[in-house]
Assembly symmetry: C2
Homo-oligomer: 507 residues x 2
C-alpha cells in the first residue's frame, strides 16, 4: 500500500509537470537593472545593447537579430559575448531567476530560423569562445570551445593529417557548437557518420546555470546514461553548449570522382549496391541529380560534364566520389568499376566520365552543387529537405509534379519545374519546386501535401536542417504524439522556466 | 511577477521530484493474482513460475536467476517470455501499477550483473521476440526484434554482402536488444564506431507501458530531441527495448594482420600514428599486448608468433589488422608499411611478422585473445576494464605494480603479475592483476586505488562492460555529481515507481 500511495503522489507531481508546459507565462524583457548585473562580470565590449547606459543604435544589432537569408527577424535589445564558460553560467543563472529568454547564437548560418530571437530574448553569442583546448594527434581527439569556426578547426588539425568529421558549405562562418546543437549533416556523413557517433563529449551550461561537464576525451566510456546526446540536435533549447570533444579521422591521401548517366531512375539503387560493394571503404559520396536538375545546371552556366550524345536518353545522373589512402589503388578500383559497368550484359549506365584532373574533379562537384544556384536563377524555389526511403525518391518527385498538374498549377504560369537531387547514400532528397512566383495557391498545394507524403513513407520532414522556428508545426509529421510528449517532458525537466531558445523545436 | 511566482511553483514540484528518488519504498513481489492477469494475454509456455498454478521447481529458473559467471544470483519466482511488443506493453503496464520490479533479460551474457534480479523482480525475457522485421540490401538498414541473436543477424545479412557493425565473443548467445541496452563495444568499434552512431532507431516500451516508436529506417532525421540515445547504454533502467533499427556496413572483401615487436612502450604511440596514416581506411584493429601478457600467453599454450631471437628485447607487442575491399591492394599497403618500419633510420619496431595464410591470421588473433585464458590458468585475476588516455597505458600498469610492491604485495606469495593489454585504438586498457589467491589485502590495495588513478586521468571505470549491479558504487569516479544527479532526474522522469531493472546503474 505504501508504494501504491507513493505512486499516486508521484503521478500528481508528473501531471503538474505536464500541466505547466502548456500554460507558460510570458518571459520578461531585459532591463537596465539586468545590464548593470551583467556588467559586474563582463567587460564593456562583451555587452552590446540599445538600452542605457550602452545605448547603441538598433542597426548595430541587425546582424544578430536577423538570419542570413533575411527570412527571420528578432527584436532583441541585448547581445552578450562571454569569454568563459563561467561567464555563460552566470548569465544563464541570472536569466533563469529573472525568467528572461536566451537565444544561443553561433555563426547564425542556419536555414530554419533557430538562431535568431522570436521576440526580444537576450542573444548569447559564443563568438568570443574560440580557443582550441586540446588536440591529441595520436587519437585524433580534439577539444574546442563551442565558438570555434569549423574551417579554423579544419585548418588546425590539417598539419597533423586529420580532418573534421563534418564539412558544410557554411564552414567559413559556422561554429562547432552550432554544428553540434543542430546535429549538422553535410557532405561527409556517408563516410564518417553522424555527430551522435563522432562527438565524444560536451560541456553544457544548463538552464539553471549549472555547468554539466561531460567533456571526456575517451573513445569508450560506458558509465551510465549518455546525457550529452540530448543536446546534439536540441538546437539550444535544453542548454548552451560551451565546449565540444570530437573525434577527427585521418585525412584521406587521395580523392577522385566520376559522373554516370543512367537511362532510368530504376537503375540508381542496383547501381548503388554495386558501387558500394566494389568501392566499399573508399566510397565517400553518392549523389543523385535528376535530368531536370542537370539541364538547369547546364542552362545556368555549369560546364557540361557530358556531351549531347552522352546525355541523350539519360533520365538521371549519379556523382560518385572516392577518398582513400593511396591514389593508385583508388584510381584502379574506380577504373575497374567503370569498366565493369560499361561492359555489363545489361548496363545500368549509358556512360560515365572519370575526372582526369583536380580541375575536372572540381567541375563535377560544381555541377552537383550548382543545381542550387541554377534553381534560384530559374525562378522562385520552394525547397524541401526530406528523408525518404531511397526506393521512393523518384516516386516522391513525380508524385509531386502530378499533384501540381492535377491542380492546374504546372506550366509557365505557375510551377515551371519539379526537380529532385540529393544524397542517395544518406536517403536525403532535396525536392525543389521552381515557380514563376510565390503564390498562396502553390503554397497550399504543396503543404501539407509534401509533409503528408513524407509521413506516409515514415520519412523525415527535416533530414539535416533541423526544426528551428520554421517547422515546429510540422514536427508531428515525423514524430509520434508519444515522442513529442516525451520531448516536452525532457524540455520541462531541463528548462522549467522555458528560457532556452523559446519558440524553437517545440511549439 | 506572474512569471516569478510561477517559477517558484515549478521549483517546488522539481524539488519534490528529487526528494522522491531517495525515499523509494520497497517494490512488491509477484503473486498468484498477478500470474492470473498475465495468463489473460500470454500463452502458458510464456509463463515460467514457481508460484501456483504453474508451480515449477526452482531450479528451472536457475538459468534466468544467475549470470553465466555464477557471480550474481537473483531469486525471481517468475519469468515471462512475451512474443509481441503489445504483450511487453501489457506486462510493464501491470507491473507499474502494482509496483513490481522488472528485469529485462536478453542473452544474459553481461559481465556486471545487469541482467539478473537483485531480489525477486519479474524477469522479462526477450528470447521469444526473435524475428527480423525488415532488411534493405541497398541501404544496409536492418530492423529486428530485440531478441534476435547477434550471430543469427550476422548470418542473415551475410548473403547480401553486409556485416553487423558490432562483433563480440558472446555473439552466439547475446541478443541485439541487450547489445544496444548495454552499448556493447567489441572488436569492430575502431572501424565502425559506437552504437550511438550505428543504431538508427528503437522501439521501446516505457515504464508506464507506453510504446515509444522511434523505429525509423532513416540515415538522417533532424526533427527534435534524439530520445532513443537515452536507452543506448541505460541497461534496461529506463524502459524495455523491443525493436532495433541498425545500419549494417558492406562486408570487407579481405582481411589481414601482422604482429610487431617493440623495444619500448614509448614507441607504441608514434607507431600508431604511422599505421593510421599509411593504412588509413583499411585499419580495423590496433591491439596492444605487453611483454608479460605475451609471455603468459605463450607459456599457456599459444603458438609463438615470433622466435626467441625476434622476441628478445621486446617490451611490448602490437597486433595490426586490416579489412578492405581488395586483397592485393590491402596486402601491398601492409607490406609497404612493414618495409618502411623496418628500414627506418630509427626503427620503432624490432621486427614484425605478416600472416601468410588464414591459419596464421587466426593464430595471431589467438595469441591476443589467448591472454585472457592464460591469465586465468596462471592464477586468480583481478580484472579492470578501463579507458585512459593512450599515453598513460604503461604508466597505469607500472604504477599499479609499484603500488602493490610498496604494499609488500608483489611476489609469489601474493601478486604474481600485473599486465596490460587491450584496444589502443579505442583507448581501452585491460589491466589484469594475477594473484596467487583472492585476498582482502590485495582487494583493499587495488580499490579504490585503481579507480582513483582512472579518475585522475579523467578516464572511465567501465570502458565497455557497463555498470550493472557491480559498479554502481564506482560511478562517481567517472561521472561528476552533476552528471549523476541529472541521470537520477532522467530515471525519475521515465520511471517514477523505480520498477525498471532496480539496483542497476544508479544506486
Amino acid at each position: 500500500m505504501l508504494s501504491l500511495s507513493r505512486c499516486t503522489a508521484r503521478s500528481i507531481s508528473l501531471r503538474a509537470l505536464r500541466a505547466h508546459h502548456t500554460q507558460r507565462p510570458p518571459l520578461n524583457s531585459v532591463t537596465e537593472h539586468d545590464l548593470a548585473h551583467f556588467a559586474k562580470f563582463l567587460d564593456p565590449p562583451a555587452i552590446l545593447s540599445t538600452l542605457p547606459p550602452v545605448s547603441l543604435p538598433a542597426d548595430e544589432l541587425d546582424q544578430f537579430n536577423n538570419d542570413w537569408m533575411g527570412k527571420y527577424h528578432g527584436s532583441s535589445t541585448t547581445v552578450l559575448k562571454p569569454k568563459t564558460t563561467q561567464q555563460v553560467s552566470e548569465i544563464v543563472k541570472w536569466c533563469n531567476e529573472r525568467c528572461i529568454g536566451i537565444v544561443p547564437q553561433g555563426g547564425n548560418t542556419g536555414l530554419v530560423g533557430g538562431s535568431v530571437p522570436v521576440k526580444d530574448e537576450v542573444i548569447l553569442s559564443l563568438a568570443n569562445m574560440n580557443k582550441v583546448r586540446s588536440f591529441d594527434p595520436v587519437s585524433g581527439i580534439l577539444v574546442a570551445d563551442a565558438g570555434c569556426i569549423l574551417q579554423s578547426l579544419t585548418d588546425y588539425v590539417a598539419p597533423h593529417n586529420h580532418i573534421m568529421p563534418i564539412d558544410l558549405g557554411a564552414k567559413g562562418s559556422c561554429q562547432i557548437g552550432g554544428n553540434v546543437a543542430t546535429n549538422a549533416g553535410g557532405l561527409r556523413l556517408l563516410r564518417y557518420g553522424s555527430l551522435h557517433g563522432t562527438v565524444l563529449g560536451l560541456e553544457v551550461v544548463l538552464p539553471d546555470g549549472t555547468i554539466l561537464d561531460q567533456l571526456t576525451t575517451l573513445r569508450k566510456d560506458n558509465t551510465g546514461y549518455d546525457l550529452k546526446q540530448l543536446f546534439i540536435g536540441a538546437e539550444g533549447t535544453l542548454g548552451v553548449i560551451t565546449g565540444v570533444s570530437i573525434l577527427t579521422p585521418p585525412a584521406p591521401q587521395a580523392s577522385n570522382n566520376v559522373i554516370l548517366a543512367l537511362p532510368s531512375f530504376k537503375n540508381v539503387l542496383p547501381l548503388y549496391e554495386i558501387v558500394k560493394r566494389q568501392l566499399s571503404e573508399i566510397l565517400s559520396a553518392f549523389e543523385f541529380i535528376d535530368r531536370t536538375a542537370y539541364d538547369l545546371a547546364v542552362k545556368h552556366g555549369q560546364g557540361r560534364a557530358l556531351s549531347d550524345q552522352e546525355v541523350e536518353g539519360a533520365e538521371c545522373f549519379v556523382l560518385v566520389e572516392t577518398s582513400g589512402g593511396r591514389r593508385e589503388h583508388d584510381e584502379e578500383k574506380l577504373a575497374d568499376l567503370l569498366e565493369s559497368l560499361l561492359e555489363a550484359e545489361k548496363p545500368l549506365i549509358n556512360t560515365g566520365v572519370l575526372a582526369q584532373s583536380p580541375a575536372q574533379f572540381a567541375s563535377l562537384w560544381a555541377l552537383r552543387e550548382g543545381v542550387t544556384e541554377a534553381v534560384s536563377k530559374e525562378g522562385k524555389p520552394y525547397k524541401y529537405d526530406i528523408s525518404v526511403p531511397l526506393s521512393t525518391f523518384q516516386e516522391v518527385v513525380d508524385g509531386t509534379r502530378e499533384h501540381l498538374r492535377s491542380k492546374g498549377l504546372l506550366g509557365d504560369h505557375a510551377v515551371k519545374h519539379v526537380i529532385g537531387y540529393g544524397h542517395v547514400g544518406d536517403g536525403n532528397l532535396h525536392l525543389n519546386i521552381v515557380a514563376e512566383s510565390y503564390t498562396p495557391e502553390i503554397q497550399d498545394a504543396l503543404e501539407p501535401y509534401v509533409y503528408e507524403v513524407v509521413a506516409s513513407h515514415r520519412g523525415s520532414v527535416s533530414a539535416e536542417h533541423g526544426i528551428g522556428a520554421m517547422k515546429t508545426h510540422a514536427l508531428h509529421y515525423s514524430k509520434s504524439d508519444v515522442s513529442i510528449a516525451w520531448m516536452k517532458k525532457i524540455k520541462d525537466l531541463f528548462d522549467p522556466h522555458g528560457i532556452m531558445n523559446p519558440g524553437k523545436v517545440l511549439e
